[in-house]
């Protein structure tokens, strides 16, 4: 039907191979069956883990078949490409004949074809054929997309139809699937998908890509001003919130709080709240207690900055924060490590565990130093993506729904009403057919007959 007229042998056979619905069925089932593997085998894991799970031989076999990233493997993409070719060629092959039915000026109706149908309803009208004709003409013109009246023997026939365009529904669905595939391709070629961890107060202008692990520079910078996490009483997370500032050449141009489900979009790049973590704290509130007078002093300390001790007793430098400190072989958890210089003495090392405030008593000094509190510091984990394919995919989403609805629930209905004069009145026979939902047609035909019988003349 739709083959190129000058197609020679091999071309023709390639065409008919791709135009076959058998191929569609095989491809859909193959895609379904192979997709299962990727849900059973964890994707994109580390080789060490795979070897541990599957053993060296199976690992190498699976790796050879790209089963660890199978949805991006050459053979899976080939299947999708074949499906796309199948859809396009199937549609083109059949569209030309459907096109002729849909875009015809004067549709063909044959009374003999309607007379073969069992879907019919009959009633006797009291009015004569001429009166019926003048009433049916406007009725069908109003309720059907197309109608015409033809004389027939002593009476007449009305031919009417509607929903001719719904025959295109399936091609709309096919077009949408192609749009989805194109949208996916555009996204993978022109987009990127990366992530970046930004500490509070830190500014970044490059991200790490997920797929290649490469670095993607951005045209602007992202600063994390603040990150907060809140919890429900049960301990489940309630909200992750990052306050971000976008900077162009160092100048802030946009400030926004992002939450999960509420990303930030700037110049086609989307920034999502993806994860978070804690950073080593930097500011600490230290507590100093004079052993003799019991006087308590509080002072803020920042890592790397020397502070004066109260009562001019000397100075203290906190050199680092350790999350897993130990003392004489015992793990003591989080602790500050520093150097204490008492007046008239040489500098000496000092250890201030966060969990044990009286630890420093052991040093035997005149002043006991403890960590009173500290500001927790977070980093926010941002997912940074750009996907110019999204509008195409979304267009595909909208039309696939519309197309499925048209294809499944609307049909091309053709009606023939035959009116034969009988005595003073006439016998009216309504016959109808539709290309889909044939089971619902008898009801439609009998409803139409009832309406015609009640038509005011």
């Amino acid at each position: 039907m739709g083959q190129p007229a000058d197609a020679n042998g091999p071309l023709k056979s390639i065409w008919s191979f791709f135009a076959s619905v058998k191929l569609t069925v095989v491809l859909l089932l193959t895609l379904a069956a192979t997709s299962v593997f990727g849900t059973l085998i964890p994707q994109m894991g580390s080789p060490d883990r795979y070897v541990a799970i599957y053993g060296a031989f199976t690992y190498r076999l699976f790796a050879l078949l790209d089963l660890f990233d199978m949805y991006h493997s050459w053979w899976f993409e080939l299947l999708l490409l074949l499906l796309a070719a199948n859809i396009v060629i199937c549609s083109v092959d059949r569209l030309s004949s459907v096109w002729k039915i849909v875009f015809v000026k004067k549709p063909r109706f044959k009374l003999s074809q309607f007379q073969k149908l069992s879907t019919r309803a009959q009633f006797a009208a009291k009015q004569d054929a001429d009166r019926l004709k003048s009433a049916y003409g406007p009725y069908f013109a109003k309720h059907f997309h197309y109608s015409r009246i033809e004389p027939h023997e002593k009476g007449f026939c009305v031919f009417a139809e509607k929903g001719r365009w719904t025959r295109l529904g399936v091609y709309i669905v096919h077009l949408s699937v192609i749009l989805l595939l194109i949208g996916g391709l555009v996204g993978s070629l022109l987009g990127f998908d990366g992530f970046v961890n930004v500490g509070e107060g830190v500014t970044v202008d490059r991200i790490r890509l997920r797929s290649s692990k490469g670095i993607q520079p951005l045209d602007f910078a992202i600063r994390c001003d603040d990150f907060t996490v809140t919890f429900y009483k049960s301990g489940a997370p309630k909200e992750y919130r990052s306050t971000l500032t976008i900077l162009e050449k160092g100048r802030p141009v946009m400030k926004k709080d992002i939450l999960v489900n509420h990303p930030l979009n700037y110049r086609g790049i989307n920034i999502y709240q993806a994860s978070y973590g804690t950073l080593a704290p930097q500011k600490f509130q230290l507590r100093f207690q004079d052993k003799a007078s019991k006087m308590v002093f509080k002072k803020q300390a920042v890592i790397g900055r020397t502070i004066e001790l109260p009562e001019s007793r000397g100075s203290l430098l906190i050199t680092k924060y350790s999350a897993t400190a130990s003392f004489r072989g015992h793990a003591i958890g989080e602790a500050l490590v520093g150097r204490l210089t008492l007046k008239g003495h040489a500098p000496q090392p000092i250890l201030l565990p966060l969990r044990f405030p009286s630890f420093d008593k052991m040093r035997g000094g005149a002043m006991v130093i403890a960590v009173d509190s500290y500001d927790p510091r977070y980093y926010t984990g941002l997912q940074v993506t750009r996907d110019p394919g999204v509008p195409i995919v979304y267009a595909g989403f909208i039309i696939i729904i519309a197309g499925c609805f048209i294809t499944f629930f609307l049909s091309h209905q053709r009606i023939c009403v035959q009116v034969i004069p009988k005595g003073k009145g006439a016998v009216v026979t309504v016959m109808g057919t539709s290309n889909k939902n044939k089971i619902g047609m008898p009801q439609k035909v009998s409803q139409l007959a009832k309406k015609l019988a009640k038509l005011k003349l």
Partner: protein, 282 residues
Amino acid sequence: MTSSSILSIVTFIYGLAAFLYLAAWVFKKPPAGQTAVWVSLAGLAGNLAGIALRWRESYQMGIGHAPLSNLYESLIFFACVLTLIYLVIDRRTGSHVIGVFTAPLAFLAMAYASLSPQVSNRIEPLIPALKSNWLIAHVITCFIGYSAFAVAFGLSIMYLIKNREAAAAQGGVLAARLPETAVLDELTHRMILFGFLFLTAGIITGAVWANSAWGKYWSWDPKETWSLITWFIYATLLHARLMRGWHGKRIAVLSLIGFTAVLFTYFGVNLLPGLHSYGAPG
């Protein structure tokens, strides 16, 4: 009365309906079938009331959200839609015997939700990922799809029973009381069309939601992939029927395979790691 206790009672109402349908079929007692329809209606009313009350309770707890956020809530919603679809078909066809194959599914879903110790019926606040307007659209479309496929599954079982009896030509009484194969075949097909439209809408709402939550509309997470596998199977069925003229037994078998994929998408995927952990038992 709390929503959980109402829904526990609904479980038994559905169980009673299933029993009455079965009794009406086996002992050929049409009044029992008619009673079963009324019992189903009562169950549906209780089911809806339970869902509405649960919604209200969540607001009273100060964590208000639609009751569509975990396995328990999805199961009661599934039973509700399943019963509703059955009742519509019952009204359209006037055949109560279809209830023999759908009421037990509603009962099982409710029983699993209410009785299994693995399924928590506590109203929990929403975690950040679920705080989205897409939650309602996604869950409702998916579960209308699942329910339609469940009804199609019941119809396919009926078809296979009727068809086997017809082939054996022994004219079994039970099979004789089932609707004609042509009617079952057409109803199955209609249900699958309906389910396919809603599955498609469910996948799409999920994709749009994923794009707003994670920045990717598709990430081949196991649940996503299994919903696509299900979509492929039903798409195969539709092409086989509409383009290759498959009917009857072969369509019924494909419908059974399709529903197996639905069940795996719904429950089986929880055994695999992925992003959809909120739908898992626990």
